[in-house]
């Protein structure tokens, strides 16, 4: 299993993954830095806000593309058969490749996180914000949350690539899953607050959303940026519960992926 993880890492780096991360990171930091100049009173917070959004977006993109490249394409081109002709189980292949993508994502999160950290430190120049941002533990915990968010999406993309026979399906469905999971929080929030008193919306979408939230995880629960940006407390057990939600969901998805991959026929 370890060898599959390492080979995934190697081919990830060989496919200029790190270069991609750096180019995107530089772009991201540039945009975040420029965004600060739009802010009349909170340049550092705006840098973080825009940077976090860009990072969350890029990590999910990396996740689906790496899964497509390291699992989807191997299945598609049948090169996976070379790997499986060794005396290893199919389970080890799937889990090992997933672990490889997860480690690549960790490298990406650390690199992008460091770049954004530096630019947040520098942004705003001499202007003193009334309340500055927290670039310590709160910052790195938030980066961890984004990594976890990308890991959940990666697990979903792995599941799709074990059953898909269509190229790019993992990328397309993975991206849709990510947007749905992230939007879910805002929709649930709106309904919980009574939909601005609109009874029709409540009646129509209330039961539907109650069902959906048991199928798709609420990924916005892994977004902890109000902590570093505004120093707001996250609510008791919000982080621990977020970890639990992500872990549980990843285990479910990966078990399904392993079960499907065992039965998969390649011809």
């Amino acid at each position: 299993m370890l060898s599959f993880c390492l080979s995934a890492l190697r081919s990830g780096f060989r496919s200029r993954a790190v270069l991609l991360i750096l180019v995107l990171g530089a772009l991201l930091v540039g945009v975040a830095f420029l965004a600060a100049s739009f802010s009349p009173r909170q340049p550092k917070t705006v840098t973080l806000d825009v940077g976090f959004s860009g990072m969350r977006f890029s990590l999910v993109l990396f996740a689906v593309f790496w899964v497509q490249e390291l699992v989807g394409r191997e299945v598609e081109r049948r090169t996976v058969l070379y790997a499986l002709s060794y005396p290893v189980s199919r389970d080890a292949y799937v889990v090992g490749r997933f672990a490889g993508v997860v480690s690549l994502l960790a490298v990406a999160a650390a690199l992008l996180g460091t770049l954004l950290w530096v630019s947040a430190l520098l942004s705003g120049g001499e202007y003193e914000q009334a309340r500055s941002v927290d670039l310590g533990w709160a910052y790195w915990a938030t980066i961890g949350g984004f990594w976890l968010d990308a890991v959940v999406v990666a697990a979903f993309a792995v599941l799709i690539s074990t059953l898909s026979t269509v190229q790019m399906l993992p990328v397309a469905l993975g991206a849709m899953f990510a947007v749905a999971g992230k939007s879910l929080g805002a929709v649930l929030d709106y309904l919980e607050r009574g939909a601005d008193g609109d009874a029709l919306i409540m009646a129509r979408f209330g039961p539907l959303m109650d069902f959906i939230r048991w199928v798709i995880p609420d990924l916005s629960r892994l977004d902890w940026r109000v902590w570093p940006m505004y120093g707001l407390p996250l609510g008791e057990g919000a982080i621990a519960n977020g970890l639990l939600l992500a872990t549980g969901y990843v285990i479910v998805l990966m078990s399904l992926a392993v079960m499907i991959f065992r039965r998969r026929e390649f011809f």
Partner: protein, 276 residues
């Protein structure tokens, strides 16, 4: 066979003719909505989905959109859309500082009180350490709605958030005085100036200074109209009356370019409120 060689050239020339015909015609066809500064406010969830499911990104986008809008070119109905955009931003991220600050600086002066107050209420709840949202909330209560008692209540809430006991005392004192005042333009001008002093953006500060200058002009005109009323026993017919009778040296030029006038009660106001 020779004919076939010519065929692509014929097509090329036909294409070029059609293209240049269409292009030259567009010179006379006016673009619809070309002057619109801010016209559309998308539904909340469309905004969230367009931002890839990221409500904070959607909020940032809306806040930047509100900030870069050229307010001097906006029509009164555009402010309704601006208010909607900023209210949505505040729903998506109630703690957004720029959003509540720009909303408080622009919207209430353009009649969008309800949106302003809901943005400030949310910011008050979302930023427990920030005294400014409840302060502005209270100020607009007294200035626009004449609710001195309610305003004093909000000012006391703001005072509780100040770290310095002296400043807290000062604000408590202000609260007691606000109960009596409701239409004090000089005070409004001072508060707008204080808002301008906080920003790092020079263009926005300049805009706010224009607003405070406008309030000072109106205060001066109202004072003159008051004196006119005392002397002549009736309100002046127009601002020109004040100048002709020497109550003002000249009618001030509105820094926002809209102009001043007298309403039916003979009170000096911005021309935009007469059109409504």
């Amino acid at each position: 066979m020779r004919r076939l060689h010519v065929l692509p050239v014929v097509f090329l020339l036909t294409g070029l003719m059609i293209f240049s015909l269409a292009q030259s015609r567009f010179g006379q066809i006016k673009r619809v909505n070309a002057g619109a500064e801010i016209e559309v406010a998308l539904p909340l969830f469309v905004q969230v989905v367009l931002a890839g499911g990221d409500r904070y990104l959607a909020a940032s986008w809306a806040a930047v959109r509100a900030l870069v809008t050229e307010t001097s070119r906006m029509k009164p109905e555009d402010y309704r859309v601006l208010a909607k955009v900023q209210e949505d931003a505040s729903w998506l991220n109630p703690a957004h500082e720029d959003n509540y600050y720009t909303a408080a600086a622009i919207l209430p002066w353009e009649g969008q009180m309800e949106a302003t107050q809901s943005i400030l209420r949310r910011a008050t709840d979302a930023r427990p350490y920030d005294y400014q949202p409840p302060f502005y909330y209270g100020f607009y209560l007294v200035h626009f709605l004449g609710d001195g008692l309610g305003a004093a209540e909000w000012l006391r809430r703001a005072a509780l958030r100040l770290p310095d006991p002296d400043e807290r005392l000062l604000m408590e004192d202000l609260a007691s005085r606000w109960i009596a005042r409701s239409q004090d333009l000089e005070m409004a001008a001072r508060i707008v100036d204080a808002m301008a002093a906080q920003t790092k953006r020079k263009d926005f500060a300049a805009y706010l200074h224009k607003r405070s200058q406008r309030l000072r002009d109106l205060a001066m005109l109202r004072k003159a109209a008051n004196e006119y009323q005392l002397r002549h026993g009736k309100s002046p017919e127009s601002l020109e009356d004040l100048r002709r009778n020497g109550f003002v040296v000249k009618i001030p030029v509105d820094p926002l370019g809209i102009g001043y006038g007298l309403n039916q009660k003979g009170l000096a106001v911005g021309l935009e409120s007469l059109k409504k």
